[in-house]
């Protein structure tokens, strides 16, 4: 029998806010332990939470980016459990009335476009971080109360690779929207993976097994590459899987059981009485909808269609959004956007890298790139000369036309002048000339190179080739 995997992901993302969710402490990674804390995020007796409005905005913005519905009533709830990393011994989260419900993420996978539906994206607070020393443990509350958004997918994912691509697409969207920096190294994104297997073609779900607390996308892929065959093996041997929670051991490359359903928590959710229900107004929502950006995939498709860009170039402009914006600023009115993309990606980006500068430091106007491409396309300068011109404009900011004029770099298309140079080249290189006549076509390139050399690169190479050929065949 053939089996298929059914995978759903719960992705926790730290939001890009200046302060924490319920207090004014900085939302900042990497500070010495317990330096960004106050009575509120330490859960001291008597304190109350006050919701960070920007975190609510970013959650709703995420809902808009993921095509979710934004309910006009949302609330916070208390999720009760005892653990040293949660100071109040309850976590404030959104249980049955989240800020966003029902959306989807489209992404490229297996040469096509796949869709994973989103159940909801809700807002909650991050917990503190436990550290275990030799004999004792410590808790760092800097992370406690950082706004954390949980994006819950439907079980639409069917393979480890698909899970990986979905996570990358989701991350790209959130980074694009300015919702989160999604810096994995800083633990800004963590996943819980729900995976079960079933005979292909059936619709009933198998026992749900959750792999908790994954902190890298490649880890998710590896864990699934291990877990799916493991489950299939158990089931195909006639064994039974039970609902349970497992842990991924990255070193051993295996998942291991943490607890089964009998030990499942009863979180005793109930509405958080310290916070008022949240009822967004039209105006508030309209403000957020102005922050909605074009999604990465849509951008890629549009760049390919509007500017006839090859997929890799379009993808480059998706990843490097400022570069893409720079390109579009020039290409909108240019005749040859494809060539402009080429220059921006291959020359401009390289120069920026070499000189360790950014687009903001450029000395020339964006239109200069278009002008340069025009100079090439109209035959005024050769591609080779263009490199030199570009180098100059990059370091001085002078317009390409002016550089060509000042340095006399314009291509020579005067037939008389080129004919003279061709005669000179043939006379000086009898060997190659004879070779060509004897049928060695490649020898023409050598002679052409000589003409270019004699012209200091300014001769129109196409014209030089034509004239040489005519003269040698005569």
């Amino acid at each position: 029998m053939e089996y298929e995997a059914v995978i759903g992901l719960e992705t926790h993302v730290q939001l890009k806010t200046r302060s924490k969710m319920w207090c004014g402490c900085a939302n900042q990674f990497g500070a010495p332990p317990n330096t960004h804390v106050c009575p509120v995020c330490l859960g001291l007796p008597g304190v109350l939470p006050v919701a960070n409005e920007e975190a609510l905005r970013l959650t709703v913005l995420t809902g808009m980016l993921l095509h979710c519905d934004i309910p006009r009533y949302a609330k916070f709830d208390r999720k009760n459990y005892f653990y040293p990393d949660v100071a109040k011994n309850y976590q404030i989260t959104q249980y049955d009335k989240p800020s966003t419900i029902g959306g989807y993420v489209d992404f490229e996978f297996n040469g096509g476009i796949s869709r994973v539906r989103i159940t909801r994206a809700h807002l909650e607070e991050d917990v503190a971080k436990n550290f275990h020393f030799e004999r004792t443990s410590g808790v760092d509350f800097n992370r406690a109360g950082v706004p954390l958004m949980e994006v819950v997918s439907e079980p639409d994912i069917t393979s480890a690779d698909m899970a990986y691509e979905y996570l990358n697409a989701l991350k790209d969207i959130l980074v694009y929207g300015g919702v989160s920096d999604c810096d994995m190294e800083k633990g800004m994104v963590r996943c819980d993976v729900n995976v079960s297997v079933r005979p292909k073609g059936t619709t009933e779900l198998g026992a749900k097994i959750e792999i908790k607390n994954m902190n890298s996308f490649s880890g998710v892929r590896k864990a699934l590459e291990y877990e799916i065959p493991r489950q299939i093996e158990v089931v195909s041997r006639g064994g039974k899987l039970i609902q349970s929670t497992r842990r991924w051991d990255d070193v051993a490359g295996i998942t291991e059981e943490m607890r089964t359903k009998e030990y499942a928590h009863d979180y005793r959710y109930f509405p958080e009485p310290d916070l008022m229900p949240f009822t967004p107004t039209d105006e508030w929502l309209a403000d957020i909808s102005r922050r909605v950006v074009e999604l990465p995939l849509a951008r890629k498709q549009r760049l390919m269609q509007d500017y006839q860009l090859p997929a890799p170039d379009a993808q480059t402009f998706v990843w490097d959004k400022p570069l893409g914006n720079y390109f579009e600023g020039i290409a909108k009115t240019a005749k040859n956007p494809k060539a402009i993309a080429n220059w921006v990606i291959n020359n401009l980006r390289a120069k920026l890298g070499e000189s360790q500068t950014t687009l903001a430091d450029l000395k020339f106007a964006p239109a200069a790139v278009a002008e340069l491409v025009e100079l090439i396309d109209s035959g005024k300068i050769s591609g080779k000369i263009a490199q030199e011109v570009f180098s100059d404009m990059f370091s001085t900011g002078e317009a390409p036309g002016k550089i060509v004029e000042r340095k006399g770099l314009a291509q020579v298309s005067d037939t008389g002048a080129i004919e003279a140079l061709c005669d000179q080249a043939i006379a000086a290189n009898p060997g190659p000339a004879a070779d060509f006549r004897a049928g060695k076509a490649a020898a023409l390139n050598f002679l052409k190179g000589q003409v270019m050399k004699l012209s200091k690169g300014k001769a129109n190479p196409a014209l030089a080739g034509e004239i040489l050929e005519r003269k040698l065949k005569a």
Binding site: G46, V47, F82, N89
Partner: protein
């Protein structure tokens, strides 16, 4: 004996520079020394800090700061041990907080300080405000200043007893189901519970977040009005406060109540009501009529469900609110081999019986499979109770009831029967469920022994002015508030 002054009298004399804050503060401290070994209203008192604040107040007055700018300048106000005061101990009447010192001021404390008050003392209370008799204090009960074999009421028993025994000029308490009004009635002072959202809860250790409200005990209605004005207002640290403007409450105390309508809920005059309490209330109703108020019957049909509803909602919220006392970061810690054992040992040793009972009850009603039957249903009933009141307030300006069904009972009398104990809050508990305001004030005494009787006036949300006006007019036309217990006089 400046400590015997009312807040209003004290402010007048401070303004005239007849007395100093240091003198009145010293007199309060002396009275504590004199009577508190008998009363046990204070868990601790930082005399040095109190006198330093008093000295600063005196200096401010010398520098020209007036009571118009700082209405409580130099007035000693004592604080229930559940309200955070920076660098002062806070035990909430429990062993579990051990040697905890609060690193910050509650908003009400900041407001008292801004108004110039001398903030002092930690007033005894039922553990985490759970109780009606003060017998649940982990440090031993407060005793009633009128009869020290009797309870002072709870949970703010210390707040009421300290005011009545002149150990302070006024005090702050907290009221979750009657915890300010009930002890005020049983000790014989004014006790005010503001509408939910009127006063910030930031820094008030939460018992039941949707019911808790900071209130005050005072010797006169006018004193309570002055305090309320200082305490009230929106607080950016408490999302449940409202931007409703704060009126000048003392302006409402005109003595004129003609045309105001008072409702008597027929559901409240039923069995279990002490005969002397009933007589006193009936006389008070007549007095209100004589003063020109119109008295009519009203109905609050869901009254019978109030106690059950309260004990589901309050305990559910408490089960989460009290989870933070776990021995990890502060307070008592009893070591264990793993966190779970540390938690259960710490909480097992640290919490008292009634607190444990309520945590278990609250945990139960929120459990999967029981939530709908208990918590959800209780929330629905709560809505009905609130709409009972709002409907009644369409016909009347205030609702008058006894504050408690009986006068103060003996220590130990009801400790064996929690349900009987819960019934002592029967008249006060609905105001918290409905979010309305209420005030208790003296309206008579039982004959033998002589014990105070309190009447309660409840008003619609944010109509504190109305109940203060009615209470003040009644108070000024009677002499009950002038009676004093004999505590401390013998010595």
């Amino acid at each position: 004996m400046l400590n015997q002054l009312t807040l209003t009298e004290l402010v007048e004399r401070l303004e005239d520079r007849q007395v100093s804050s240091c003198a009145v503060t010293q007199d309060c401290l002396d009275q504590i020394k004199r009577v508190d070994s008998e009363l046990h209203a204070f868990l601790s008192c930082d005399s040095e800090d109190a006198l330093a604040q008093a000295k600063a107040a005196d200096q401010a007055m010398t520098a020209g700061v007036t009571h118009r700018e700082k209405p409580l300048l130099g007035v000693p106000v004592a604080i229930k041990d559940i309200i955070a005061v920076r660098n002062q101990p806070m035990s909430c009447g429990s062993r579990i907080l051990h040697d905890y010192l609060s690193p910050y001021d509650a908003t009400v404390i900041s407001r008292l300080r801004a108004a110039g008050a001398v903030v002092f003392g930690r007033l005894n209370m039922d553990e985490f405000a759970m109780g009606s008799s003060n017998e649940n204090s982990a440090f031993g009960p407060v005793r009633n200043p009128w009869d020290t074999t009797r309870i002072p009421g709870g949970s703010s028993g210390g707040s009421a007893a300290a005011v009545v025994a002149d150990e302070c000029i006024a005090s702050l308490g907290s009221d979750t189901g009657g915890s300010v009004r009930q002890p005020a009635a049983l000790c014989g002072c004014v006790g005010l519970k503001p509408s939910y959202g009127r006063v910030s809860r930031y820094g008030l250790v939460a018992y039941a977040s949707s019911l808790d409200q900071v209130g005050c005990c005072a010797k006169r209605v006018r004193d309570a009005a002055v305090l309320l004005e200082a305490l009230s207002g929106m607080d950016p640290r408490d999302s449940t406060t409202v931007p409703q403007p704060v009126p000048h409450y003392t302006s409402a105390l005109t003595g004129e109540i003609k045309g105001l309508r008072i409702g008597l809920p027929k559901e409240y005059m039923v069995g279990g009501l002490d005969a002397e309490v009933e007589t006193a209330i009936k006389a008070a109703v007549k007095q209100f009529a004589k003063l020109g108020a119109t008295v009519v019957d009203v109905s609050l049909p869901h009254t019978d469900y109030a106690i059950a509803t309260y004990y589901i909602i309050a305990t559910a919220e408490a089960s989460a609110n009290l989870a933070r006392f776990d021995g990890i970061r502060y307070g008592l810690r009893v070591e264990g081999s793993d966190p779970a054992e540390l938690y259960s040992r710490t909480r097992g040793d640290g919490f008292g019986v009634e607190v444990k009972r309520r945590i278990i009850l609250g945990t139960y009603v929120l459990s999967s499979g029981y939530y709908d039957a208990y918590y959800l249903r209780a929330q629905k009933v709560r809505t009905l109770i609130r709409s009972d009141f709002l409907k009644a307030f369409e016909q009347v300006d205030a609702i008058l009831t006894p504050t408690t069904p009986t006068p103060a009972f003996r220590i130990g009398e009801k400790t064996g029967d929690p349900l009987q104990m819960y019934l002592s809050d029967i008249f006060t508990i609905s105001a918290n469920l409905a979010g309305i305001c209420g005030i208790s004030l003296p309206c008579g005494f039982t004959r033998d022994p002589k014990l105070p009787i309190g009447l309660q006036l409840q008003g619609k949300p944010f109509a504190e002015e109305t109940i203060l006006r009615l209470a003040h007019a009644y108070e000024q036309s009677t002499t009950w508030h002038k009676e004093r217990p004999r505590i401390g006089e013998r010595k």
